[in-house]
Subunit: 203 residues, 2 copies
DNA sequence: AAATTACGATACCGGAAAGTTTCGAAAACC
DNA sequence: GGTTTTCGAAACTTTCCGGTATCGTAATTT
């Protein structure tokens, strides 16, 4: 096991005596980590680079995080927290269409590089992999599933559809193009997938 | 630019004078590269590891390839060459089903780890990315597209379907599960995707 | 004021891995 | 036999990077 943040060694809640932790430095470090993932790839995301971009010291980073990966994971947590929820217009087509449009917008923006970097890093670091699933994949899927279940209950979608598969069918094409890069991600793709998915969900 | 194989510096075709290249060592090296990708991840795929596993010398590797990546790319080329074609039974459902079943079998086997490794490595090395697209993605897509076009021409599939999107819809779910690992790849998934894809392709 | 803790800067350590070089031996040609 | 080119083994160089240690300073509590 491993913790992703360090505790103050002695004090527990610790309204300690000395100089307090610089919360601003903390957010600068996390912000720097995200920005590095957005502009370059994981391989160049060194601790020196984070420290320099954050105007912080490497010692400060290792004072609060046990290793490099923990910084990126916490940065991902904060970055993901501010994402939009699955739409809920009562219209199945519109819900899916809006969601996929937003998804394309997300992936083609700088944030898309972050996800690429994480998926790549997850390949060689199980802890990153679990964090990526837990922080990004799982919440998104749960939200999507809840919305689709409601559509199923209210008769706008066949109850025979296996939602776990359907969700993979929805998002799979975008992740594939993101990772393989054989074609570009466009709003038109979102529309096309929407129509196909709707036919797949009918009957 | 960069060449992926070195030429003998002077002679061109060179039924040269000295000891000839050990073709067996060449295939041992490529085989070792593939096996390493199948059993561990790219990060551990060092040239020392290749040399040791191949019973070859690092000098021999760098005698014939300009760098590590070139070895893996050539290894991928040889590994991919022996893959099965898209089925052609004249039955759309059966063609897709067989193809996806084979795909699942491929990805869950040792070869799957190779593709994961390549997709991850492609993220930080443009040359690997291009090779992966050119050697694996593109041929597979072209073959699939040709088969589906025939189904379209012969009326078993709607001509309105954008095949580029449809192909992403077919394979996307599997790549997604492969890379994200949120759920397992099973033959049942192949069947479920087949049925959904068929509904998406109708009308 | 004294004690305590965090800060930024920077030097340092240790390991890992890409790629090179050297060496003696082996395999071809002339 | 002499020349050439390759081979495997291994030492070597160089670079990079994760992580630690030191130091003088700043911020806070008692």
């Amino acid at each position: 096991m491993s913790t992703l943040t360090k505790e103050a060694p002695e004090e527990i809640v610790s309204r300690g005596r000395g100089r307090p932790r610089d919360e601003e430095a903390r957010s600068r470090i996390l912000q720097a980590a995200i920005e590095i993932l957005e502009t370059t790839c994981f391989i160049n995301a060194t601790t020196d680079a984070i420290a320099e971009r954050a105007g912080a010291s490497k010692a400060t980073i290792y004072r609060w995080w046990p290793n490099k990966e923990a910084v990126f994971i916490e940065a991902l947590r904060e970055a993901v927290a501010q994402e939009m929820p699955f739409p809920d217009t009562g219209d199945l087509r519109e819900d899916i269409r809006l969601q996929l449009q937003n998804f394309v917008k997300l992936l083609t923006g700088r944030r898309g590089r972050t996800f690429k970097a994480f998926m790549a890093a997850a390949q060689s670091d199980p802890e990153v992999a679990e964090a990526f699933r837990k922080l990004w994949i799982a919440p998104r899927r749960a939200q999507t599933k809840a919305a689709l279940e409601r559509h199923q209950r209210e008769g706008r979608m066949s109850k025979d559809v296996d939602l776990e598969v359907f969700i993979d069918l929805l998002y799979g094409p975008f992740y594939l193009r993101l990772m393989a890069g054989h074609r570009t991600l466009t709003p038109a793709l979102a529309d096309a997938v929407t129509e196909m998915a709707l036919r797949a969900a009918k009957d």
